[in-house]
Subunit: 101 residues, 2 copies
Amino acid sequence: MKIAFDKLDKAFENRVRLQIMSVLSVNSRYDFNSLKELLNITDGNLASHLKGLEKEEYIMVHKSFLGRKPNTNYEATDKGKKAFKDHLDTLEQLIKQQKIN
Amino acid sequence: MKIAFDKLDKAFENRVRLQIMSVLSVNSRYDFNSLKELLNITDGNLASHLKGLEKEEYIMVHKSFLGRKPNTNYEATDKGKKAFKDHLDTLEQLIKQQKIN
DNA sequence: TTATTTACTTTGAAAATCAAAGTGCTTTTA
DNA sequence: TAAAAGCACTTTGATTTTCAAAGTAAATAA
């Protein structure tokens, strides 16, 4: 059996983006600062990875106020959830294949 | 439950190196040209990824002759097999975690 | 009014990735 | 026997990716 490596999504190759998608598929929403603390990266770096996922339409942004403070939340889109699932399914096949041998 | 993303091995982040390790954990040995055809990449590109894995001591090289032609074979080391397994185990945990939610 | 917070954008450097060309050696073909 | 081709690279250089740091704007808190 051959594994379709070409089904692996380049957008999820990077560790940070993999983490973001994991968080956003377990939590329906997650805000910028919590994400930044969780991943322990600079805000600029986080912002650019978020932007990358947004460009692919894998996540979307919700801007609101918590009391008087601005609060930006991120949410995985259906497209993003599907793409992430497909990616993990491919990885799962790969893992299974390895276990047989 | 928290997933240890930091256990993901950077050496296996790249698609080509992931494929190489997959092939070398199913096949005890695989030669340069077959690998090149399988992955459908240029020889220079393959060589540099192989070198990267060799530098980590994840694979080793066997040079021999098939008849009169030189033939270079690659084999995963124990260290490489372990590292690859650990990497896949971490990915598996991530996948499981996603399925619960 | 000065400092701080939030959520960025911009900049630039470093690292990663890749194709293409070059290399040295051998073997096959004309 | 000269030329072409195969093998397994190395080198080069361009492009892309990744990241930290600095800059920004708008608002709030001290």
